[in-house]
């Protein structure tokens, strides 16, 4: 649906060049929710703004349904943009217009008839659940309500894609949750492809099918959310996942435990989350597992659990236990302070 090919963007400052994007290639599949995550300054905002050419690439191609947007004329680009909705961190509504006007005006300016405008406003205000606010001005709405209006405004053009530029970053956790549910519903029920960028791992975890991790203008890791969550390859990806579980173990305890046996992080995905693999270990091998921390969360409706476990016992028994766990479908990693590393 959307494809970025070898995108590079260089911002020319007075004295120096800033490379915001470095040879980025990504493919967003039709019907999916694709998340791009990174710390601020990673280039993710530049990237999403290239999907509709709000930002022009220095080199590379942006393809939408197979057409290279960088080759289109101004009018052709406007037509394509009408098929791509976009929402922003700061909502970007007209302060001087009512909710109705905010949704209706862009439709009017793109030549939609009056009766069709009324029909669409009614339909999409219902989807975002603000039927009773049509006459309100943005200043009278909460942050979450403003974002709902922005979503209705974007949907009213009946786009194929919705681009979300840090759409939940200005909202509190409860409102974020509600907006994410709405985006998920839009994806499922209206079949709209979503490309979103965020710096919050829980956004990716809750609604994305696929994720790309960005750092210093490069995509350093990408794949399905389950894969990236269960087998993160890069330190940045690990840090993001770590931020979600918050499974730090105090340094003193860590030192003490390291002298004896093995300290591991066990990840359970989907079906394996239900098996009593850890209980079996104590029966089969001469090890004593103690659970130091743990958490279970939903990854796009699949349970994803993580336990920090100390396996007390001889080196060889602990290794056997680890092998057994791996065979049972558990992902085993050694635990270090502030992160985890794969065990071979």
């Amino acid at each position: 649906m959307i494809e970025f090919r070898n995108l590079t963007k260089v911002f020319q400052d007075k004295k120096r060049e800033v490379k915001a994007l470095h040879n980025v290639s990504l493919k967003v599949k039709e019907g999916s929710i694709f998340g791009v995550i990174g710390y601020s300054g990673a280039g993710k905002s530049t990237l999403v703004r290239m999907a509709n050419l709000l930002e022009k690439p220095t080199s590379g191609q942006v393809l939408f349904e197979g057409h290279d947007l960088t080759e289109l004329s101004g009018n052709q680009l406007n037509e394509v943009r009408q098929q791509m909705g976009m929402i922003f961190q700061s909502f970007n509504l007209l302060k001087t217009g009512t909710v109705y006007e905010n949704i209706a005006l862009p439709l009017k300016l793109t030549g939609v008839s009056k009766s069709e405008i009324d029909k669409r406003v009614e339909k999409y205000i219902q989807i975002v659940g603000l039927q009773d606010k049509l006459k309100a001005y943005p200043a009278q709405l909460s942050g979450g309500q403003k974002q709902r209006v922005a979503i209705a405004r974007a949907l009213a053009h009946e786009p194929k894609v919705l681009l979300c530029d840090e759409a939940t970053s200005a909202l509190d956790p409860d409102t974020t949750e509600a907006i994410l549910e709405l985006l998920s519903k839009i994806n499922k029920e209206l079949g709209i492809t979503i490309l979103l960028i965020t710096h919050e791992m829980n956004v990716v975890q809750k609604i994305c099918h696929e994720v790309a991790v960005m750092e210093q203008g490069k995509v350093i890791e990408q794949g399905s959310v389950i894969d990236v969550f269960s087998k993160p390859q890069t330190d940045t990806a690990k840090r993001f996942i770590h931020s979600l579980f918050n499974d730090d173990i105090p340094g003193d305890l860590l030192k003490k435990l390291k002298n004896n046996g093995k300290l591991v992080a066990l990840s359970f995905i989907g079906e394996s989350a239900g098996d009593p693999a850890l209980a079996m270990v104590t029966k089969k091998y001469d090890v004593f597992p103690s659970i130091l921390g743990g958490n279970i969360t939903d990854l796009k409706e699949r349970p994803f659990g993580r336990l920090i476990v100390h396996l007390d016992g001889s080196e060889s028994e602990a290794q056997k236990a680890i092998n057994y766990l791996k065979e049972s479908g558990v992902i085993v990693e050694t635990y270090n302070k502030g992160g985890i590393n794969h065990v071979n």
């Binding site: 680009l77 943009r81 922003f88 970007n92 509504l93 007209l94 302060k95 793109t110 922005a150 053009h157």
Partner: protein, 224 residues
């Protein structure tokens, strides 16, 4: 007391009324023409500025310089300085017709600057949202940029109108009449203080009225 007021009105009523009408014509016509010239100039300044949608260094610098030069010249000097130009455009350099040209040359650059600062206040994000929806630039200028800036534009125009009322007072020097001229000729030159006081009071009421209306309209348009 009552008779003296009646006498004053009988003696000066017509003159004051005519002067008032002259002032209104000068202000009204010059203001309209200045908005027609100044608003697009303000839009152009805003859009061609550094880092803006239609960035154009050459055009921006030319406009910037011309506006700065015109704004540095005091009206009383400008009035005489551009006499040949006035003659060329208006066909005359005297009377109400002759003073409109210098008033517009004086006010339009001022309005352009005021419009520029109003338009620059508009949230860049809203404009971007409309660009992202594939809306044409000319629609964005009118329906987003100017619309969102309206409360601030009205306040700017209020300031410009009051400046313009002040400038018309000097128009008497080319025989254009008006309230300022009446106060100057009779009040100052002929020592008829009562005429001066009455015209000054009328000017005060006029300025107060314009400011109040400006503030009210702006507040009504403002929705946040």
């Amino acid at each position: 007391m009552l008779t003296s007021i009646t006498n004053f009105i009988n003696n000066w009523g017509v003159e004051i009324w005519e002067a008032f009408i002259d002032t209104m014509i000068m202000v009204g016509v010059s203001l309209t023409l200045s908005i027609i010239i100044g608003l697009p100039l303000g839009v152009l300044l805003t859009l061609t500025g550094p880092g803006k949608a239609l960035e154009n260094k050459v055009l921006y610098q030319i406009l910037n310089t011309i506006i700065n030069i015109l704004r540095s010249i005091p009206f009383i000097i400008l009035l005489f300085f551009i006499l040949p130009f006035t003659k060329l455009v208006a066909g005359t350099t005297i009377g109400v017709q002759g003073v409109i040209v210098p008033l517009v040359v004086f006010t339009a650059p001022y309005i352009a600057r005021l419009m520029e600062s109003s338009l620059l206040e508009v949230d860049r994000g809203v404009i971007e949202a409309y660009e992202a929806m594939g809306i044409k630039t000319r629609h964005i200028i009118w329906h987003v940029l100017i619309r969102e800036a309206r409360p601030s534009i009205i306040l700017g125009l209020t300031i410009a109108t009051i400046g313009l009322i002040g400038a018309t007072a000097m128009a008497g020097l080319v025989g254009a009449g008006g309230l300022g001229d009446l106060a100057y000729r009779y009040g100052h030159l002929r020592y008829q203080a009562d005429i001066m006081y009455v015209t000054v009071i009328i000017l005060i009421i006029l300025v107060q009225g314009v400011q109040t209306i400006g503030n009210r309209v702006s507040a009504r348009l403002k929705k946040d």
